[in-house]
Symmetry: none
Subunit: 208 residues, 2 copies
């Protein structure tokens, strides 16, 4: 059963501190310090008008963005109980959420990425774009194969006998341990280089 009480103390809805100011500012049933009347998002003081949601104040711009009063696809308004997609802080009519590359309409569960302009791209187009990018900037990312202990053992045992295996031997090794031929080749190159390095550095210690 609700009971109404006398107003005992009054706290500011913004900072939750007691209001000692001469005047209380009342905004739609909530009380505020004059100084606390700021947009919850951008913290700009709210001088002319403000929007309220969940006891929080917003400037028009941030309110529209956050609570989706304007579709970022067609730039038209969104009615209060219209269904929307929320995406990266923007709202879209269900029918206005399109991939900016292929214009296909997104459905729930579709994977997507966000362009530099904050607009959605479907995963397929994104992947193609990445592939294309890597084709044209081939040395930006270099996937590194990690060679397991198993494979290393095999490679090492061959290396001890034959540090410079022929193409045919390399092919055998490659299929046997399940590595790319090129990877095997590079491994032997690097291994020889490392060996040489350790030998020369050992030598320099002795001679110094």
């Amino acid at each position: 059963m609700p009971h109404s009480l006398l107003a005992i103390k009054q706290k500011c809805t913004g900072c939750n501190q007691l209001i000692q100011d001469k005047f209380l500012l009342k905004v739609a049933d909530d009380l505020w310090h004059e100084d606390c009347l700021r947009c919850y998002k951008c913290t700009q003081p709210l001088s002319k008008s403000c929007y309220i949601k969940d006891h929080k104040l917003y400037c028009k711009e941030d309110y529209d963005k956050r609570f989706g009063r304007k579709c970022q696809g067609c730039n038209l308004g969104i009615l209060p109980d219209e269904m929307v997609y929320r995406l990266h802080g923007s709202c879209y009519h269900i029918n206005c959420l399109l991939c900016i590359v292929c214009s296909r309409q997104f459905k729930v569960g579709d994977k997507y990425y966000i362009s530099d302009e904050g607009k959605p791209i479907c995963k397929e187009d994104y992947d193609v774009a990445i592939m294309y990018f890597q084709l044209h900037h081939p040395n930006l990312k270099r996937p590194r194969t990690s060679i397991t202990q198993q494979q290393l053992k095999m490679l090492n045992s061959v290396y001890r006998i034959k540090p410079r295996p022929s193409r045919i031997t390399r092919e055998m090794i490659a299929t046997k341990v399940g590595l790319d031929l090129r990877v095997v080749q590079v491994w032997f190159q690097n291994k020889r280089a490392k060996d040489k390095r350790s030998i020369t550095s050992a030598h320099s210690i002795i001679t110094e």
Copy 2:
């Protein structure tokens, strides 16, 4: 309705201490310190109205939430013997438990997360949101994952045998216990560090 009374020795229903204040606050047969008139749940002072249950006071919001009088989805009342979902301290009509992003209706067994506002988000939307967020704030911190006892048991048992598991082992563990690969890696790193710390500190006690 509150009544002010003359000061006689009376105990506060909230803190059970003697009331020495000039005025006693009486709320439905119980006496309270002015300062103790707070919501039992959120501890906010009760300025306008309060709800009572079992000699405890609640603000309207928490009362409705706690005693399930109001569906947190449609904001309408819940009849005493109506079926509800209970989620994170709130009640919902069976048909009112919707993902706040895609509005899809939850079914028993569906995975969900809870938004900052305490509302449910389906796992798919949550994952997409996280992906986005990380795409656009790549150097913001990853939220701290809490590792369950179950997972800890698994990790520890592996650690005893192999304190330095290979990438492949880590991958196996990660999928088995349902943790991110990186999280597993960090756990092993931290575990090794902790072990080392305890060993060296034990040593310093002996040698000192």
